[in-house]
Amino acid sequence: MSAPVIETRGLCKSFGPQKVLDGVDLTVARGESLVVIGGSGTGKSVLLRTILGLESADAGEVLLDGEPASAAVRARFMRDFGMLFQNAALFDSLPVWRNVAFRLLRAMPAVQARTRAVERLARVGLGPEVADRMPADLSGGMRKRVGLARAIAADPKVIFFDEPTTGLDPQRAAAINRLIRDIVTETGATAVTITHDMTSVRTIADRVALLDHGRLRWQGPVAQMDKADDPVLRAFVQGEPLDWGPRAATGPRG
């Protein structure tokens, strides 16, 4: 059996006195689509950022393709990696097509990279006329779709989606969910998605992990999510109103 693509062991991260990750043990197998759910401020984004080395862990270990995540291992991992950021994180100074083709421009001539970028834009429902526009001229939903086109442009083996449907109307959100599922199925890419959107969870996930107060409270196949006994998971899935008790205290990032 091959090593998991991503593994975290006892991952801890605090911001000042606030413990955001408190010993997270997570495994993501090759080709699976894992969706991490949890309330706002439970450390989901911090978990992704710590795996990628954008935040340094206070304790614990990250393994990528079975190896401890040194700078060289991370650099190798990033070569076949794509990420959709929560607010798209498009480069303001570059036109849309250069954003999408950012990685491709290092590997092929500009004309070819542009053609590929336009194809990827079409895949997320954007026409070729968008290619020469600047990110500032796009609506929030369009920026998100351009971000998705950039994430999949180079056919990565691992893709992270940070709140992929936030800010989209229900129809576009459904289309993005379907697209993410199709990409994972067609290419065999490993996907880790963070979301609050239960429709996304049911469409995208093979497996679900619930992060609560910095720990993985529950994880299992998406089919078992609705049958699980865990009261916190059940409350989250059914969207029960939150009890504003002291446990609602959260970290600085989602």
Partner: protein, 263 residues
């Protein structure tokens, strides 16, 4: 012999000075490492360098030119007014030229570039940081230092001396304008007097100062931009800090370089 436990409520000036000194040294070390990485980070792109040369150099030309013009003109009036007290009005062209190329051209040019460029770099990189664009670069296998910092540092080091050279010329022409229209110099006499006392080292030292000031301006903008806190307030603070640090850095570096070059 037992030692008394330290009283937490009693101020300990020695410890406070020690902490402040260590913090200062840590800060200087961090900036030095950042600068060294910024100058030599991998991923050099001629396209990015050309873009920054245009933004830092070419687009700063109007403000540096106007500053030099007015400074040269005012300098001519001042030297004439002061020089007349001891019948030395004839030295106006030489002192304007030497004053511009050695001191006022580089310092005022540097300060104008600091106001325009350090703020713009800090705001741009700071905004990129808070909107996760810097993180996006990392996920696209691109070193943010090579993409953002290296082209800005080299563009400023290369373009500010050129701006200083152009500013020096315009400043001398500002003095010439006043000299020929108000102070009774002929054009030929003014220019001949300007060149007669000007030495190569006067010009060269000013251009070297310009390179150092360009480096300080871009370094301040990049450093504070990369360290910007979250949100609009964080970017605002980064911008202010960059301009203040660049301006003070230029004045301090000018003192040190003047001492090195002319004593």
């Amino acid at each position: 012999m037992t030692r008394a436990a330290p009283n937490p409520f009693r101020p300990d000036p020695i410890r406070a000075v020690g902490r402040a000194t260590l913090a200062l040294l840590r800060g200087i070390g961090a900036v030095a490492i950042f600068a060294a990485r910024g100058l030599a980070a991998p991923g050099f792109s001629p396209r990015l360098l050309a873009e920054q040369l245009l933004r830092i150099g070419w687009l700063s030309l109007p403000v540096v030119g106007l500053t030099a013009l007015f400074t040269g003109a005012a300098l001519a009036l001042q030297i004439n007014a002061g020089g007349e007290r001891f019948q030395a009005g004839d030295v106006v062209p030489a002192i304007v030229a030497i004053g511009m190329v050695r001191e006022l051209g580089p310092v005022l040019g540097g300060l104008m570039v600091a106001a325009r460029v350090a703020s713009s770099i800090a705001a741009e990189i700071g905004s990129m940081r808070v909107t996760e664009q810097v993180d996006a670069l990392v996920t696209l296998s691109t070193d943010p230092m090579g993409w953002l910092v290296t082209p800005r540092l080299w563009a400023a080091i290369l373009s500010v001396p050129v701006l200083v050279g152009v500013g020096d010329t315009i400043g001398i022409m500002g003095g010439w304008l006043i000299g020929t229209t108000t102070l009774g110099f002929t054009s030929q006499a003014y220019l001949a007097n300007s060149w007669a006392y000007l030495e190569t080292w006067d010009v060269l030292s000013g251009l070297l100062k310009g390179a150092a000031f360009g480096f300080i301006v871009a370094l301040a903008g990049c450093w504070f931009g990369m360290k910007a806190g979250r949100g609009a307030a964080g970017v605002g603070r980064a911008t202010t800090n960059a301009v203040v640090a660049a301006s003070v850095g230029i004045l301090a570096a000018n003192f040190v370089l003047t001492g090195l070059f002319f004593t």
